[in-house]
């Protein structure tokens, strides 16, 4: 079975909610919709305080090339446009809407009918995806319409679909692959059409045999689509690692996947593309896994964007009294929330509740040069060394040692027996090297 070659770790999977079917969460009372739910330039609001909006209506426009439209996920009145603390912990502008009875914008097909036929041209598909504000649903939230356009002079050979879900605890992609597989398949064929590729490979880790079986069966009816089971290893869901695992191509340092003829999309993104193109539905909801070992009912919820995290936790049995940390995303790469009212955004794949004793870091000791961080780094870097020189603010040296190749998967810090905050140090280094590069122009 295939996997990527360098590095990787095997954290405990803890997929408590993998058997829980997706439940639709009731609407929130107030929806807080951040203007920056994607990588790139924040969207510009096109509504103002006091406006009433319908579900699916455009409320902010992505005007730059790398940006994305934002639509109202609820029906109601805009009460204010203000700074809120979003799930990344930063204060960002958001449109706050007081929710009334759900009324969808005209033209959106909310039925369950599956429309398989698509005769749009690649340009029309890209336009549609752009218009409906689709972004990468795996967590990086890169605007999808950008990724569906092959730059001049480049050619895409493969569309790779990421159903790896290598993060422990998370099960939202797994449930999607089981419950929305047909729609996802149509979405994949639309993406293939936009990219003009003949072959699409869906990569799924071997801990989801039911999803592999189900998608394989469906794939028989879709030309050029195949399913590839992958050996379980974190971080296989990382774009470069997935490409290496599936087609054995190595994206050069600092380059994009298209350099080696690949385009990678998450399974959730394929579903969103289907809904945008075939049903005219903008990206206003998503599946979020809510889990934690002391949570009464770990679940997978279909949630409207802008719902406060606390509402999901309440629906999963309420916040346990021993809660020490709440994380947005997976336990390896997710961000700890500093406000439980932070809204669910397009890139929120999970809310994980940690108990007090799981929240503490192990005490830090001297580095004993065990070299475990080197052996697990999927990018072949030397995390202990990057951490050391970043700590000493030797940022030019950081750059020379390819600190920018780090994708912050956290494998180094995960294995470190001395409990050293390697990724914290590397992040600070990356921040400063990034600043240096920008200043150079």
């Amino acid at each position: 079975m295939k996997t990527f070659r360098i590095g990787g770790v095997h954290p405990p999977e803890n997929k408590l909610s993998e058997k829980q079917a997706i439940e639709v969460l009731p609407l929130p009372e107030v929806a807080t919709i951040p203007l920056s739910q994607h990588l790139g330039v924040p969207a510009v609001p096109v509504v103002k305080k006091g406006d009433s909006v319908k579900t699916g209506q455009l409320i902010a426009k992505g005007e730059a090339f790398i940006s994305a439209n934002i639509h109202s996920s609820v029906t109601g009145t805009v009460t204010k446009i203000d700074d809120v603390v979003d799930t990344s912990g930063y204060r960002k502008k958001a449109i706050i809407i007081k929710v009334e009875e759900d009324q969808w914008e005209e033209g959106i097909d909310t039925s369950d009918n599956i429309i398989k036929e698509c005769n749009l041209s690649p340009e029309e598909i890209v336009e549609k995806v752009n218009e409906k504000g689709i972004v990468g649903m795996g967590g990086a939230t890169f605007p999808s319409h950008v990724k569906l356009q092959v730059p001049k002079g480049k050619k895409a050979d493969f569309l790779l679909i990421n159903g790896v879900e290598c993060e422990p605890c998370l099960t939202s992609d797994h449930r999607l692959m089981l419950e929305k597989a047909e729609q996802m398949m149509v979405g994949i064929s639309i993406q293939m059409r936009a990219l003009r590729v003949e072959e699409a490979i869906i990569g799924i880790e071997n801990n989801k045999p039911d999803a592999i079986k189900h998608l394989r069966k469906l794939a028989e009816n879709y030309k050029g689509v195949s399913v590839e089971p992958l050996k379980i290893k974190y971080p296989q869901g990382a774009e470069k690692q997935l490409i290496k695992a599936l087609v054995n191509r190595e994206v050069p340092s600092g380059k994009l996947p298209i350099e080696v003829g690949c385009v990678v999309h998450n399974v959730g993104t394929s579903l969103a593309v289907y809904e945008a193109v075939q049903k005219n539905k903008p990206l206003i909801d998503r599946v979020v896994t809510v889990t934690g070992k002391d949570l009464k009912k770990p679940s997978n919820f279909m949630v409207r964007i802008g719902t406060p995290a606390l509402q999901l936790i309440d629906a999963a049995g309420g916040l346990p009294p021993n809660t020490g940390k709440v994380v947005n995303g997976g336990p390896m790469m997710g961000k700890a929330l500093n406000d439980l009212e932070s809204p669910i955004a397009k890139g929120t794949s999970g809310i994980i509740v940690f108990s007090d004793d799981e929240s503490e870091r192990v005490p830090m000791q001297n580095c004993i040069r065990c070299a475990k961080c080197i052996s697990v780094c999927p990018m072949g870097l030397e995390p202990f060394f990057l951490g050391l020189i970043s700590d000493k603010q030797r940022y030019e040296e950081c750059e020379g040692n390819h600190i920018m190749d780090c994708m912050e998967c956290g494998s180094c810090q995960y294995v470190c027996p001395s409990g050293r905050p390697l990724l914290d140090q590397v992040r600070i280094g990356k921040l400063n090297v990034g600043k240096m590069i920008r200043e150079r122009g």
Binding site: E250, P252, L337, L340, C370, K372, I374, N401
Partner: protein
């Protein structure tokens, strides 16, 4: 509800710790320790205990009264230094020398540099070489193995196989005896079998990788093999060289000390080959019949340079499509 912790990812930590690694090494040392107890009896037990206890006490005293920092003597590293130091001395060594050696190992070899993780040289070897230079007679008078002996003083002493090789090759024990450990020598170096067992345990537990031991032993084998082929009458064969003296102990336990060895696989290979070549050079042309300790200490000094020169292979460094 109390305040929430907000910290950077990752939010999971592997079930690993310095203590676990160190106690893993100690478990792997059990076979070799038992063999030394079997062949050298009470003397071996007393020397080992003395070394371990004095290493612990010296580390404690230094941490408590000189550094005035946290006491970390139970992380296992001082115990390992003690055991390895004992492994490198004869079982009838006067105990005060063992205590002095432990002091040098812990005090000069380790704590001067800032404790575990900061020392450039293997502490046990620093102690051992100090003793070898200071007490050359006592350090090279080895008792003959006598299973389950309880005698400490007045044991029958004899030269090691390596020493035999230089003046009376016919008295060398059989390879089988040497492999099991039935020969004169330092406490822990006698049984290649027990050391290899311990090495396999550490490999399985992923405490060490194969790079250093294999390249070390292989380069000794190849180098002495060439010399032997050139003139079989004047030189011992390569099998003899790898199962005698401290090669096994050095290659499996001393050179692989993670603090004082390179971190990238390529660097580890260079380091292992360097140790092997230097050992053979010292053995064949040096003043001492045994060169492992010196070879490893010399290579320890090169580690920062090796680490700088040999980086791991990066992802996306060379474009390989296929």
């Amino acid at each position: 509800m109390s305040l929430l912790t907000v910290s950077g990812s990752p939010h999971f930590h592997a079930d690993s710790s310095v203590r676990k690694i160190m106690y893993g090494v100690l478990i792997s040392l059990i076979p070799a320790t038992l063999v030394s107890f079997y062949y050298f009896g009470l003397g071996a037990i007393i020397v080992t205990l003395t070394a371990v206890v004095s290493c612990l006490i010296f580390e404690f005293l230094i941490q408590k009264y000189m550094i005035k920092g946290p006491i970390t003597i139970w992380d296992g590293s001082a115990i390992i230094t003690g055991v390895l130091l004992a492994f490198n001395v004869p079982s009838n060594l006067p105990l005060w020398m063992v205590v002095v050696g432990s002091f040098v190992a812990i005090g000069m070899g380790k704590m001067t540099f800032g404790g575990l993780g900061k020392n450039p040289f293997n502490p046990a070897l620093v102690g051992r070489v100090f003793m070898l230079i200071s007490f050359p007679v006592e350090m090279t008078t080895w008792p003959k193995p006598e299973p389950l002996t309880t005698q400490i003083a007045d044991v029958v002493t004899g030269p090691t196989a390596l020493a035999f090789a230089s003046f009376s090759p016919e008295s060398i024990p059989s390879y089988q005896d040497m492999f099991i450990g039935n020969m004169a020598g330092s406490l822990g170096e006698i049984s290649a079998l027990a050391l290899i067992l311990g090495g396999i345990y550490m490999l399985v537990k992923r405490i060490i990788t194969w790079h250093i031991p294999v390249s070390f032993i292989a380069s000794v084998f190849v180098f002495t093999g060439i010399v032997w082929l050139v003139d079989p009458s004047a030189n011992m064969d390569p099998v003899f060289h790898i199962i005698t003296g401290g090669i096994m102990l050095g290659a499996i336990y001393m050179a692989t000390d993670m603090v004082t060895s390179p971190m990238a696989p390529k660097g580890m290979l260079i380091f292992g080959v360097g140790c092997g070549v230097l050992t053979v050079v010292i053995r064949l042309w040096g003043a001492y019949p045994e060169g492992v300790s010196f070879a490893i200490l010399i290579m320890n000094a090169f580690v920062p340079l090796i680490d700088r020169g040999f980086k791991p292979k990066r992802f996306g460094e060379e474009v390989k499509n296929g």
